[in-house]
């Protein structure tokens, strides 16, 4: 297939393809982060993760309208404001859900799966009743569209760069929180031994609540960012949930590094295979690879040593 192309063309495609892989990596990582925190640190399988993302997306939609009609002069910067709102909304709902639903189910991890799935259905129908069954279009300010010419025929997408930057930022913040803050220390303590942590005076209830809220909040930000590349509709969250779980499980549930490594492996293989094969075949082969590796390493790529 490369016969007819000049070396320069092939080179620039290679660069752009590498960049496509990096964008996919950022997308995977961003959507998996919230879930990884909740699943990894608390053992709660949050099936409504996708819906929390879409909540963020709808907040962005509302913000874009608000700014368009009330503050047109600030329109070009509305996206940052929208992401903050998305975080707050998703986080608040997360805290509420934790308080109403999840905390009663900590001893029964499989039941959380069912409960959060039910929650996802409720949220979908709530979106449908509020915003209508049709998809909504989120308009972007002009500067966030199109692509930057880098050199010759190489072009990189601005929204891709934006997602990459955002992912970098949020991963950094989460890593800092987990490994440098007092909260992070307590979270890690609770993960390795809940009973003991309680015994030394850590309020495990509060930690759980904050963790769940943070995870949902990050999902909201991710959803907000994805309005740039994907659709916003009541059931759009379902588009992301499978890939998200794939990344988290493959990475090893308790490790942030694992999530990063797994997002990278899956995105690169997917995007490379997609280039040489077709979309559907790439997905099949990626899934086969993941299944194969999980058979060899059931705990995922990175395993945290935990005393059981």
């Amino acid at each position: 297939m490369f016969g007819d192309y000049s070396l320069a063309e092939l080179g620039s495609i290679l660069v752009m393809q590498g960049f496509a892989g990096l964008i996919l990596f950022s997308v995977f990582l961003l959507m998996a982060l919230g879930l990884a925190i909740i699943f990894g640190q608390m053992g709660v399988i949050n099936m409504a993760h996708g819906e929390f993302m879409i909540l963020g997306a709808y907040m962005t939609y509302l913000c874009s309208h608000l700014f368009e009609t009330h503050f047109p002069s600030l329109y070009s910067g509305y996206f940052f404001f929208a992401m903050a709102i998305a975080f707050v909304a998703a986080c608040a709902l997360g805290l509420l859900v934790e308080w109403l639903l999840i905390r009663h189910l900590y001893a029964r991890p499989l039941d959380t799966l069912l409960a959060t799935w039910g929650l996802s259905l409720i949220m979908q129908q709530a979106f449908r009743s509020t915003f209508g069954a049709r998809e909504v279009g989120v308009e972007l300010p002009q500067w966030m569209m199109g692509s930057l010419p880098v050199a010759g025929s190489i072009e990189v997408q601005i929204n891709g760069l934006f997602v990459m930057g955002l992912t970098l930022l949020i991963t950094g913040i989460v890593a800092l929180l987990l490994y440098k803050s007092r909260w992070g220390l307590q979270v890690r303590a609770v993960v390795s031994n809940r009973t003991m942590s309680g015994a030394v005076g850590i309020d495990t209830r509060r930690i759980d609540m904050l963790t769940f809220g943070l995870g949902c909040g990050i999902a909201g930000v991710a959803g907000s960012a994805f309005t740039m590349i994907g659709s916003t509709g009541p059931t759009a969250g379902q588009l992301y949930i499978v890939d998200t779980f794939l990344v988290v499980v493959f990475g090893g549930a308790q490790s942030l590094l694992g999530t990063v490594a797994s997002a990278f492996t899956i995105s690169q293989s997917q995007s490379t295979l997609e280039f040489f094969l077709t979309g559907s075949m790439a997905k099949v082969l990626t899934l086969l690879m993941v299944i194969g590796l999980l058979m060899l390493r059931p705990q995922g790529l990175f395993v945290l040593k935990v005393r059981r």
Partner: protein
């Protein structure tokens, strides 16, 4: 605009006035309950025990208003309700008001079959307007054939089906595809095509027809053909591939949420659809709501109806639709096709002089609907519609400008020879 544009809108208008007159007459007749209906005694027009009384006839509406497909099917439900309301305002069918029972398929195919059975067996509806995806139609087809019901199916679809119990008011694949490809070859001097689609029966069958037409009839070249799982959201790799192979035409049959991701990423990657010809058969005005007009501006869509069509039928349809469902709403190809369902059924029943399904099925071929928003349609022997095919170009505001329409009605050909 093509020279063959039909002129009979004038006569249509007259007919509308006539109908309005008839409505006034029957409204007076209504003062004596069922007087008009007495010309057609219930025992005569309903010999098979359908839900028909002296004053009412019951039909079913069967679409998904919950679940994934609610995005698409909502418009169809709205159109069908509008048509029913308008028919009732004109005096109903054989002097009987239409009452509808709406069931929710819930985007789940077995549910569709179950609800279809409920409508036919328990409610004894005289006809059903319903289904959207081919999967749901395939699920209800055995039910309609077993219990002898009548289904009016609105979506453009892949063809390869024909049933006594179904009237297909959307276009089948060859009607939608061939004229568009001919046009793009002639107007854009296209030589190479890149075919894309979501990975299920409709895009695959349609692209198969497109490929055969491109290679065997137009003698041009397909440089790539690719499918993506439903719900796929990352298209950067294939966009790079298209950058490499530089096709004259991108031919896209991507559906659902994937659509939004595809056009956003295409635009972000620097494809300007004013320079790169792109033709789609899956993006109606409804989908553009989600995609955003600015992301698809300049792209071409090939189907039979656009909201912007400039004819008196369409103008009154659009304003009635917006009056009933709100100003912000848009009307896509399938919504218009769904609107045809109740009207075609009414006309067929009146032609047959009976609600009996067998008589309606037999009377269907040849039924014409001159008041159709898309212009004029007629039911073919094979229960599909003769209709024109049109090419529209996307505007930034999410509407299409009509660029081309076929001079003649396209014949429906659900089992095309040489394309399988």
């Amino acid at each position: 605009m093509s020279s063959g544009k039909r002129i009979p809108h004038l006569s249509t208008l007259n007919r509308r006035e006539l109908l309005a007159g008839a409505a006034a007459v029957s409204a007076t007749a209504m003062l004596a309950p069922g007087a008009f209906a007495q010309q057609f005694p219930t025992a005569k027009v309903n010999t098979t025990g359908l839900a028909v009384t002296d004053t009412e006839v019951t039909v079913g509406i069967l679409h998904s208003v919950t679940g994934t497909m609610a995005i698409s099917e909502t418009g169809s439900v709205q159109a069908e309700k509008l048509a029913i309301e308008q028919i009732n305002a004109e005096g109903g069918v054989l002097g009987r008001k239409i009452k509808f029972i709406q069931e929710d398929g819930g985007s789940d195919w077995p549910t569709f079959a179950e609800k279809a059975k409920k409508l036919l067996v328990n409610d004894k509806v005289a006809s059903v307007m319903g289904c959207w995806t081919s999967a749901s139609r395939k699920a209800v087809l055995p039910v309609f054939e077993q219990y002898n019901g009548m289904l009016y199916y609105p979506t453009f679809y892949e063809g390869l089906e024909q049933s006594k119990n179904v009237i297909y008011t959307g276009q089948e694949a060859t009607q939608q595809i061939i004229a568009g490809l001919d046009w793009v070859q002639k107007e854009k001097n296209a030589k190479t095509f890149y075919l894309l689609g979501s990975d299920y029966i409709w895009p695959r069958t349609s692209n198969k027809i497109a490929r055969k037409h491109i290679e065997n009839f137009l003698k041009l070249k397909v440089v790539g053909e690719e499918y993506f799982p439903l719900g796929h959201t990352q298209f950067n790799s294939v966009i790079n591939k298209m950058k490499l192979s530089k096709p004259d035409v991108i031919y896209a049959i991507i559906v659902g949420g994937s659509n939004v991701a595809f056009y956003k990423q295409l635009k972000a990657a620097g494809f300007d659809l004013n320079k790169q010809t792109l033709m789609t058969i899956s993006v109606t005005e409804d989908e553009i709501l989600g995609i955003g007009g600015e992301n698809i501006v300049g792209g071409y869509a090939c189907m039979k109806y656009f909201e912007s069509l400039d004819n008196p039928n369409n103008k009154s349809f659009v304003s009635a639709f917006k009056k009933m469902w709100g100003d912000k709403i848009v009307i896509g190809d399938v919504t218009q096709a769904a609107y045809l369902g109740p009207w075609l059924w009414k006309l067929t029943v009146e032609k047959a002089g009976s609600f009996d399904v067998d008589k309606v099925a037999a009377a269907s071929p040849g039924v014409e609907f001159k008041g159709a928003p898309e212009g004029y349609v007629r039911i073919h022997e094979n229960h599909h519609l003769w209709s024109k095919t049109r090419v529209g170009r996307a505007r930034p505001d999410g509407q299409y400008d009509l660029i081309y329409e076929t001079a003649d009605l396209m014949e429906p050909d659900p089992f095309p020879k040489g394309y399988q």
